[in-house]
Assembly symmetry: C2
Homo-oligomer: 231 residues x 2
């Protein structure tokens, strides 16, 4: 069997919302998805900042059609087929609780890493639900929650000079069909592969691996990501 | 700076012991290290089985010098510069406690993954100390404990037809000099790189990622490993 991207669905018409889309990760993903021609809705606590960021992204090099990038508040971003959560861990639970009524039936992609930092660097914080993604699933029982994009450097995403994101995105989720959509979405971005890497209960270590990648970045002056070998 | 293997020490004369070296992971690592020309001491609960496995490995294709591979009980394997722990998680703590008196000052490399399995597949078990490697460090306060080789497929390791192990080994440890030795040891194996990936407190997610790699193996009929990108 091996890895066969042709079995994944066509997601060229799938719309993508970004919660907290004015932060580095949200902006970076919005830019890459806009370059791939997706319709993107950038959400923010402030509708004005959401709209400003959308205008900024829409004018960046390589964006297929700037008017497919729009912005507003986080509720505005919920009106999409796939909603990606790119907020800081500190506000994760509260934000998702407040938006739950807007997210039933939607594919929600959590890429938040619950990390703490001290003088020895980053470390994985304990999460009562097990992981950020499992917390999202608990708070959004009517949504189709996946984890993905946890290891993607925002510095590389937003850099127009980087033509391809040469790395793999691990997609976790119990809803196989939803995970297929997220994998296909990752593969819309040049260089990326979307690899299904297990159930949501195995999300904690994927989120936590970001602490190791940050350590690697510091040690080797890099923007590290991962590739899965033999796939 | 980037990744510069030339700063790593010469480990060609470093001897390596393997605790539980008759299991798949221990045999596989012993074989690759023997192919690289290292002196290897295979340990087992049964001295006879340790010696048998050593004879078997010593006769495999590509081994530089079969008489550099010897075997005995686990105490025998402790008499080496670097001691790699490749026992099942179930016996991890008891074995290390029983061997602590033989390991002061030694570099101990833990590659044990504390995983449980049920009908939904593998998952990370909670460890009171945080991770298998941290448990080793707690039980061996006089040793220099690192984690490494957690993601290396024993099926690929033992297969003589596979010329090179094309993957990266994440090395975790607070003792930088010990970690350098372990990185250099990984790099003795064709195709492998040894990448320092943070302190021991960030070992749990590296151990747990093996559950995701097992899920990937099942889904894609692979023997998955990882490569770090941009390093």
């Amino acid at each position: 069997m091996g890895f066969d991207p042709t079995i994944l669905p066509d997601v060229s018409n799938v719309t993508v919302g970004l919660l907290g889309g004015t932060g580095p990760q949200g902006k970076g993903l919005a830019y890459r998805l806009a370059r791939a021609g997706q319709t993107v809705r950038i959400g923010s606590r402030s509708a004005e900042r959401g709209a400003q960021t959308a205008a900024e992204i829409g004018n960046m090099p390589g964006v297929v059609s700037g008017d497919r990038v729009s912005g507003g508040d986080n509720v505005y971003a919920c009106d999409a087929d796939v909603v990606i959560v790119t907020v800081p861990w500190a506000g994760h639970g509260d934000l998702l609780s407040s938006l739950a009524e807007h997210l039933p039936g939607k594919i929600v992609v959590d890429c938040v890493n619950p990390l703490g930092f001290d003088k020895q660097g980053p470390y994985l914080l304990p999460v009562p639900e097990g992981s950020a993604a499992q917390q999202a699933a608990a708070l959004l029982p009517e949504s189709r929650v996946c984890a993905a994009f946890n290891h993607v450097s925002s510095v590389l995403l937003i850099n127009p000079q980087i033509a391809a994101m040469e790395l793999d995105v691990l997609v976790l989720g119990d809803d196989r069909e939803a995970a297929n959509v997220v994998q296909a979405l990752a593969m819309r971005i040049d260089g990326m592969r979307g690899i299904h890497a297990g159930r949501l209960r195995n999300a904690a270590q994927v989120e936590g691996l970001t602490a190791n990648l940050i350590a690697i970045n510091k040690r080797y002056k890099a923007h590290a990501g991962i590739r899965i070998t033999d796939v």
